[in-house]
């Protein structure tokens, strides 16, 4: 078979017309043109001195005929194709089973390409095609070619395991040939399917180096151990890079794990503080899909608890100090910190515990009130000083207190002690069991009121409240009516005390999005918050996704109803991960009779139109050179050659130049007009930077994302066009590394906010795969408005559409780029404005754009230097001088 095929083979018939064209050209000379010339009388009697060749030399003729042939061939759309084996000549329908479970994200391109080849081949043989998928068990067809291709494209990888056995009842009767497009990982029920199939079966499997890897985790106390699991037949050791992504969306750590040759799994401990991690993922190209991502939930996030203490307490009498018992109980659950009342809000804790304090300074009370309103939890314990001095109108109490303590065993002469009777079914402690061994000897009583009942979380055996709570705004006030020490009760010595504190702490940290009422405090169902799609992206849950019963949250199987993702509500969040639920990963096995095993022949069909057009261009150049040579002699050939040589031979700067100097770099879009303008614009900026500032930029460089050391550039300018080809995986990871190491990426959508949506989702998706925090419109006080020029006034006149990273998000400790935006997103088409030099229309606008550019490069080089308030004095003085 010819390894070529043509999109429009009929056009090739035009090749027969070429000899005809030749003869026509030779036989019929063109008619002389009739030209009006005022000085015609001057021509009278003139005869040509030398006769120049009116016929083309044969080699030029051949060249031109060849060019014409190439035009025809490239119009016919040549494609090199390698289908693997030649088609079998059966007329039985073809059943294509796409295994699109979680592991198929890694091999999806190969699976789809193979399916397309099979569909095309079946169409050539006039065989109907049935298409089945395992993740959402279904069989469609028989289809004609175009319908089959549509059906194929509609199938997407899903984040749960497929179920081949479920396909069996859906299979049509009769004999057919089956192609099972596996993702290399064994799918449950494959054996059942294999038995049910009648007819020849071909199992397609991917190269083992591309099969999916599964990220598992075994938890230690402070650190985590991750394990990579895969059906590994890799012949060599594979280095796998694991990224830890923080809550702000930024990469906070990266670690390389080496998967030894032929090993199925490899474990490694990562040295990352747990509370900072939002998710771990295996970085591309090794990892893709939902299996390569491990989500963390709030069980891993340690809350910070501030315990209010006074100087007197603590050091001298540890066993009678509330702080001692609380710290012990919270050890390992939360980060605790002792602080005097005035300083308790300094670190913005999640929970404040106030053991036995009656009065606080009025200013502090106000601040704590505000903090509770915004979602904080204030936990108070009773005690002697509260019994003495508590005020009825204390705003930091959930219920009004009756003045004076109630000492059960001595003061009131009642000879019994009280035990905990029950936990309110409405409260978040409902699932706790009262411990009869706990006795309460002394308490502070609540003033009876109509709504007291609703505020009780725990009652004592005489129906007086032990724990009361009330909601204040987004936060809670919780009061324990006995001490945090064993002074008044055994509560502080019990396991219940620890459980209670843990529960209180777990309720905290939801200060942003709380809009639930008290009933959801202990939800029976966890609603899906964000779920993963088949490619491992977190998305909003679709209609198929069902809430997860709280009790099975840690055991429920991952299915279409419960894809991996984050479930929960404002109070609690649970991560559902493939790595926690799946059995060990096994390579695919298929025990059918009449079985052929093949590897994917991915991407073997190649569009040759580009090559044909390149050859055509070369021929035209030769033709031109030949014509010039005929007319002007050989010397001109040399001149023509000189025109082309400098372009290729021009010295390009080396990596050393990039490292030693500041270059303005941009990512080419492939659109020559746009790139030229970008280069011109940056050149104008480069000149202006050198004229106006002490920065000496070396020049403008168009980045070759594959080869250039991207990391050496302080700032990269990226203009987006709708038709821009997507970046390669290498380029993306380089770009990510650039961002992570403090580079500044300026993304310009060129006044065209639709550029992103229009370009497809290609580019948008690509940018999404970069890790960066959410972007917000630049505040008028942002460092960028003052890194060189003071722009905040200018922006009132010429508004700029600049978005920067949201720096209000907390930064992980120790991050050097804290507060700096790695991405600046603008729609102002800065390059066009820079390049617009000499335009009389709006010189101010160009100047503003140049000022913004200078501020950008200053920002890239000096970071948040100008944000530092230490220099404000000097800056103000300088402004004043002006």
């Amino acid at each position: 078979m010819i390894p070529f095929s043509f999109a429009h083979p009929a056009l090739l018939l035009a090749l027969f017309a070429l000899p005809l064209l030749y003869f026509l050209l030779r036989l019929i000379p063109p008619q002389p043109k009739r030209i009006m010339l005022p000085a015609t009388w001057l021509l009278e009697g003139l005869t040509p001195e030398t006769r120049t060749s009116s016929t083309i030399p044969p080699w030029l003729l051949i060249l031109r005929l060849l060019a014409a042939a190439l035009v025809i061939i490239s119009l016919a759309g040549p494609t090199r194709r390698d289908d693997g084996a030649a088609a079998k000549t059966t007329s039985a329908p073809l059943l294509i089973v796409m295994d699109n479970g979680w592991a198929s994200a890694a091999t999806w391109t190969a699976q789809q390409a193979q399916a397309k080849i099979l569909i095309d081949r079946a169409a050539r043989d006039n065989r109907p095609v049935l298409i089945a998928q395992t993740a959402i068990p279904s069989v469609t067809g028989p289809h004609a070619r175009s319908r089959a291709d549509d059906a194929r494209q509609q199938i997407m990888p899903q984040p749960w395991p497929g179920d081949s056995a479920a396909l069996v009842p859906l299979l049509p009767r009769g004999k057919f040939e089956t192609a099972y497009l596996s993702n290399g990982i064994d799918t449950p029920g494959t054996a059942t399917l294999a038995n049910a199939l009648d007819g020849p079966v071909t199992l397609y499997q991917p190269d083992t180096a591309t099969t999916a890897l599964l990220l598992r985790r075994s938890q230690a106390r402070e650190k985590i151990t991750i394990a990579i699991d895969g059906a590994n037949d890799r012949k060599t050791d594979t280095d796998i890079s694991i990224q830890a992504i923080g809550h702000n969306g930024r990469q906070i750590a990266r670690q390389t794990v080496t998967l030894p040759a032929n090993a199925d799994s490899e474990a490694q401990t990562m040295d990352i503080p747990l509370r900072d991690i939002a998710r771990l993922s295996i970085a591309p190209p090794s990892g893709s899909g939902a299996g390569a991502i491990y989500l963390f939930d709030d069980r891993d996030v340690k809350k910070s608890v501030a315990i209010v203490t006074s100087e007197r307490e603590g050091a001298s009498t540890p066993l009678s100090s509330a702080a001692f018992y609380l710290t012990r109980a919270l050890d390992g659950v939360a980060n605790t910190k002792l602080a005097p009342a005035e300083a308790v809000l300094a670190d913005n804790p999640d929970v404040i515990i106030l053991p036995d304090r009656a009065a606080l300074p009025a200013a502090t009370v106000e601040k704590i009130q505000e903090w509770v309103e915004s979602g904080g939890i204030l936990l108070r314990f009773a005690g002697p000083s509260m019994a003495r001095g508590s005020k009825a109108d204390d705003p930091l109490l959930p219920v009004a207190l009756r003045p004076g303590g109630r000492a059960l065993d001595s003061t009131l002469g009642e000879n019994e002690t009280l035990t905990i009777k029950s936990f309110s079914a409405e409260g978040p402690l409902a699932d706790m069991t009262p411990d009869p061994s706990i006795t309460v000897r002394q308490q502070i009583l609540a003033e009876p009121s109509p709504d007291l009942e609703q505020r009780i979380w725990a009652t004592l055996s005489d129906n007086t409240p032990l724990i009361t709570a009330a909601r204040r705004g987004a936060g809670h006030l919780i009061m324990v009516h006995t001490t945090a020490t064993p002074a008044w009760s055994d509560f502080a010595l019990s396991g219940l005390y620890v459980g209670f504190l843990k529960r209180v702490v777990s309720m905290a940290g939801t200060r942003s999005n709380v809009d639930t009422d008290d009933k959801t405090a202990r939800p029976a169902l966890l609603q899906p918050l964000r779920v993963m799609d088949g490619m491992g992206r977190l998305t909003d849950p679709g209609p198929d996704v069902k809430p997860l019963a709280r009790d099975d949250a840690d055991t429920a199987a991952i299915t279409r109803e419960h894809p991996p993702g984050l479930y929960g509500n404002a109070i609690m969040k649970r991560a559902v991960n493939l790595g926690d639920r799946l059995p060990p990963v096994m390579p695919v096995t298929f025990n059918a009779e009449n079985l052929t095993i093949k590897n994917y022949v991915a991407e073997k069909s190649q569009d040759l139109r580009g090559h044909a057009l390149m050859a055509l261009m070369a021929l035209f150049l030769l033709d031109w050179a030949g014509t010039v040579a005929l007319r002007r002699g050989l010397l001109s050939i040399v001149l023509v050659a000189l025109v082309f040589i400098p372009a290729g031979a021009r010295a390009s700067p080396s990596d050393r130049d990039f490292a030693a100097n500041v270059w303005l770099a941009y990512i080419p879009t492939g659109n020559t007009a746009v790139d030229d303008e970008t280069a011109r614009g940056l050149d104008v900026l480069h000149n202006n930077i050198n004229q106006r500032t002490s920065i000496r930029t070396a020049g403008v460089h168009s980045l070759d994302m594959e080869r250039d050391p991207v990391i050496l550039f302080p700032m990269i300018y990226w203009r987006l066009t709708a038709d821009q080809p997507p970046l390669s995986a290498t380029a993306l990871s380089k770009l990510q590394n650039f961002l992570d190491t403090g580079g500044l990426l300026v993304v310009d959508t060129r006044d065209d906010l639709s550029a992103l949506s229009a370009s497809g989702d290609n580019l948008a998706r690509q940018i999404e795969t970069l890790n960066f925090p959410p972007l917000v419109p630049m505040a008028s006080q942002h460092v960028l408005t003052k890194s060189f020029y003071l722009l905040n006034k200018t922006m009132d006149v010429f508004p700029l559409h600049i978005r920067v990273e949201d720096d209000s998000q907390p930064q992980p400790a120790g991050e050097q780029t804290a507060g700096l935006s790695g991405i600046v997103w603008t729609g102002d088409d800065l390059a066009a404005k820079w390049a617009d030099q000499g335009s009389m229309m709006n010189p101010e606008r160009q100047d503003v754009a140049i000022r913004v550019g200078i501020n950008l490069i200053m920002y890239a080089l000096t970071g948040n230097y100008k944000a530092d308030q230490i220099h404000i004095q000097a800056i103000l003085e300088r402004v004043g001088d002006r």
Partner: protein, 279 residues
């Protein structure tokens, strides 16, 4: 045709304005525009000469200060100022329709004449364009003239009335004998001849074979290989131009040769220098 006319008119106006600005950049004496120093004694502003008094001279012109310093009586004579008459004769024959579509020889000739006319009106000179009977009074008259000049019509004979400066504009591609006959009829006056040619007329950039015909005639001359006769044609064209130049020189006229893509502003300055207007 209206659009074309107003396009050319605007182009001419720009040219005249540019020319006016450029001329004003030159240091100028204080005499009024529209008048010219006649190099004769008169009642103008600038001093023409100081001379000794002879009986018959106007005694009002005696410069008493100078006379007191010397023994003789000294007169201060001023220049006489006259109104200048300019004639612009433009060849509007069909041969002028040669050249690039957007800038034929006719376009160039009309633009040049119109710009000079506007500049002259601006200076209060009395300017007459070929085919018109009376001098132009307003700029808008020029627009009317352009509309008529855009229609091809037979070559008019140059004006027989007398001018202070006559400008002949055309391609002058007829045989030199015919041209000499015409020029002999022209009244003696300072005269400038502007020959406008299209680049294609000079370079003959055609390849292969072609049939060339004069404007408005069917008879043609077939050339089988145009590049082969290119040099010979060009030599004849240059000879013709030399003959024109010689004929002008014999009459004491000025000769300018331009192509349709040349800058007219420079040319206008040169022509006005021929007529003694620009410094």
């Amino acid at each position: 045709m209206k659009n074309r006319a107003s396009l050319l008119f605007n182009r001419a106006k720009d040219l005249a304005a540019w020319h006016h600005d450029a001329a004003n950049l030159q240091p100028r004496s204080r005499h009024d525009g529209g008048h010219t120093r006649a190099k004769r004694a008169g009642t103008g502003f600038d001093i023409w000469q100081m001379k000794e008094y002879h009986p018959g001279d106007d005694i009002r012109t005696i410069d008493w200060k100078q006379s007191a310093r010397s023994d003789a009586v000294i007169l201060r004579q001023r220049e006489r100022e006259t109104i200048r008459r300019i004639g612009l004769a433009v060849d509007t024959g069909p041969a002028m329709d040669f050249g690039p579509k957007n800038q034929t020889k006719r376009d160039t000739a009309i633009t040049l004449a119109a710009a000079m006319a506007i500049a002259a009106i601006d200076r209060h000179d009395r300017v007459t364009l070929s085919g018109q009977e009376k001098p132009m009074a307003r700029e808008m008259d020029v627009l009317g003239w352009i509309e008529t000049a855009l229609e091809p019509h037979p070559v008019p004979t140059p004006e027989s009335s007398s001018f202070d400066h006559l400008v002949l504009i055309g391609d002058f591609l007829r045989p030199i004998g015919l041209i000499d006959d015409e020029w002999n009829k022209v009244q003696p006056a300072p005269t400038s001849v502007v020959q406008i040619l299209a680049p294609a007329e000079i370079d003959l950039p055609y390849t292969g074979s072609a049939r060339f015909h004069p404007p408005g005639q069917d008879s043609d001359i077939r050339i089988d290989d145009v590049p082969g006769i290119r040099n010979a044609y060009r030599a004849r064209l240059m000879d013709h131009r030399e003959a024109l130049k010689a004929s002008c020189a014999a009459r004491g006229w000025h000769f300018h040769a331009i192509t349709t893509d040349d800058d007219l502003a420079i040319l206008i300055a040169a022509i006005e220098r021929d007529g003694g207007i620009s410094p």
